[in-house]
Amino acid sequence: MTDVVATNQTILVVGGGISGMTAALEAAECGKDVILLEKNPSLGGRVSQLYKYFPKLCFPTCGMEINLRRIKARNNLRVMTLAEVTKVSGDKGNYSVDVKISPRYVNENCTACGACSDAVSAEFDNEHNYNLDKRKGAYLPFTMAFPQRYVIDPAMIGTDDAAKAKDACPVGAIDLDMAEENIQLNVGSVVWATGWKPYDAAKIQPYGYDRFDNVITSVELERMMDPQGPTGGKLIRPSDGKEAKDVAFIQCAGSRDRNHLRHCSRICCMASLKQSTYTREKFGDEGKSTIYYIDIRAIDRFEDFYQKVKSDSTVNFIKSKVASVVEDKDTGNPILKGVDTEGYKRYANPHDLVVLAVGMEPSVNFNDAPVDIVSNEFGFIEANPENGGLFGAGCASDALDVNRAVQSATASALRAIQVVNQVAEAED
């Protein structure tokens, strides 16, 4: 049974992505007692699934390594994975939070030696790679996963494979009888850093994501580029493994659209600008990118990056919301149909691969979350005094890029500290 000591001077952070890690660390490095909850088996969140960041084109795992080292060094910051909040009651300075902990079937003995994984044969969709490939039924979510501890897929329980895994473990780390736990935490303040999820591209029917192999999403492209990703870092198209040298990017795929997400997701323009550099990275002058857009939203110094990309002769910009995508049955090429609205030019352009710059929606819609908190029509948490000791951080509060999300998370850490400090003051 997990027993976690928490008091009304404890800060609870929900969500172990970069925003949650940041909020938790900033508070913990201020000496506060912090609990960080993550519903997945590992910390990391969406950024752990990105290949590069815009506009620097640096690697998200670099920052993650630093944050993990910071977490490892902190005894006053406790991490709980596979944990979800089911209920929140109480008030500012004194909340009681119900937490459901799903079984990992692997205990802290695990040394991540990998013996269990070698022993099992069953495979499952690899959620870390957006199901573009398979992973074993006993697995480490990814090489930087923290805690660095294997997981047994719940679907394995009761199978021979599960038994094989158990037998293979040299340190008795596998406990197939582990059961779901429900615990209650008493905390002073809660930071919600539940992050975002990509909009379901299949819903954007005219683009045929559900019908054409060579129509993929921007988040899937990030995984493909990762040397440890499903294609080992090769930029190839799903239908035939052919190198995708001519890539089209469709902006506002699900954003700024009453049929989908009414809001602008902010990041998609920059993401596509960044990804247009991938074709150059892989194919040099032979690579070709075409960005179909309504407005390029590269604010502040992101504009410099936009200008840099614009000056690349291999990148084209077409001001147009693509009307539809059809498939050339012979070549498997997606053909984009629409009108370039700058002076009315019709096009029907074939490409090797189409990348939908999918929008960002809150992964928890706070209009129907297990907590009473003020949120806007899009499901993002509003900064509202009525929220008492509950605060939104990062993409739970708005569609934000990483830098702004971390900024927001840092701010939320202070707001949480204010609450517990006031509690402390009142108590002495």
Binding site: Q205, P206, G208, R211, S324, V326, E327
Partner: protein, 299 residues
């Protein structure tokens, strides 16, 4: 299952001796088998389709459909209005929605209706027959009635525009609605998989005024059906049926194609599958004969 009653709006093209009388005949047979009673709206008028706009302004056009709704409310107060013609359905349903949205329009419309001694409450649904089949019966129930499965026939489900957009049937997607394919399967036939022209416009009203433009589109619709190995095309819309069926000779002449593919209504298929004879299924209404259906019907 108890008898189901609906207030029926047949529309001009389903009148005796009109272009889609065969739609009405097969629909009647189909309904008999499903124990559906269609109560015709007394003295209904034309909906002006979506081409009346040159002469008719917004209000006159709304008034036309409003009159039908009002008459239906009078004669069959507790029955939903059901239409078989896509244009009739669309025009009437649109009118219902517009009047619901705007109190002003509602008032003005009633003002006009009062000149005919009518008033509209606008409190009943306006539905397409295909909706009724899928929502009130469901594929399983529809399949249960099949006596002569349409085995071995490959059919392209051509949905077209107006039963699909802007309202659509059964909440299906605008780009790839599946209800005709599911229906074809239900009847024991074989739907053409990913028929990529299934929602392509046939040129609708332009068939008369801009034949070359519409025939160019029709060519693609038929071509894609052949590519999919179709023996025939099924549609829920009289305009689609007419346009796709009757111009095949002219298209062949113009484009050197060899089109000769029957275009039938879902009601035709169902009537045959439900064991009705060729006459009840109005197979004689086919300009391009649906021989495979005739064979089954005459078995």
């Amino acid at each position: 299952m108890a008898k189901k009653e609906y207030s029926f709006y047949p529309g001009c093209s389903s009148q005796k001796g009109a272009s889609s009388i065969n739609y009405l005949i097969s629909t009647n047979s189909m309904c008999e088998e499903l124990d559906i009673q269609l109560n015709h709206i007394p003295d209904w008028n034309c909906c002006a389709a979506s081409i009346g706009y040159a002469g008719g302004g917004e209000l006159p056009r709304l008034a036309l459909s409003a009159r039908n709704i009002a008459l239906s409310e009078q004669a069959h107060p507790d029955q939903d209005i059901v239409a078989t013609c896509a244009a009739c359905w669309l025009a009437t349903k649109e009118t219902k929605e517009r009047l619901d949205e705007s109190a002003d329009l509602m008032a003005e419309t009633n003002q006009a209706l009062s000149a005919a001694g009518l008033e509209i409450k606008n409190n009943k649904e306006v539905r397409h027959m295909a909706e009724v089949l899928i929502e009130d019966f469901g594929y399983e129930a529809l399949g249960a009635k099949v006596k002569k499965p349409l085995e071995g026939i490959k059919i392209a489900g051509y949905v077209g525009c107006q039963t699909n957009r802007p309202f659509g049937i059964d909440g299906e997607s605008y780009e790839n609605p599946m209800y005709l394919d599911k229906l074809v399967e239900t009847l024991g036939a074989d739907p053409v998989k990913n028929y990529d022209k299934k929602v392509q416009c046939c040129g609708g009203a332009l068939a008369f005024s801009e034949p070359e433009k519409s025939q160019d589109m029709i060519k693609d619709i038929i071509g894609a059906a052949y590519d999919g190995g179709a023996d025939m095309i099924v549609t829920p819309c009289p305009v689609c049926q007419m346009n796709v069926e009757v111009y095949q000779d002219q298209i062949n002449e113009k484009y050197g194609t060899k089109f000769n593919i029957p275009v039938v209504y879902y009601s035709t298929l169902m009537s045959v599958a439900y064991g009705r004879n060729a006459k009840d299924s109005a197979l004689n209404g086919q300009i391009i004969k649906a021989k495979q259906l005739e064979a089954i019907a005459n078995k």
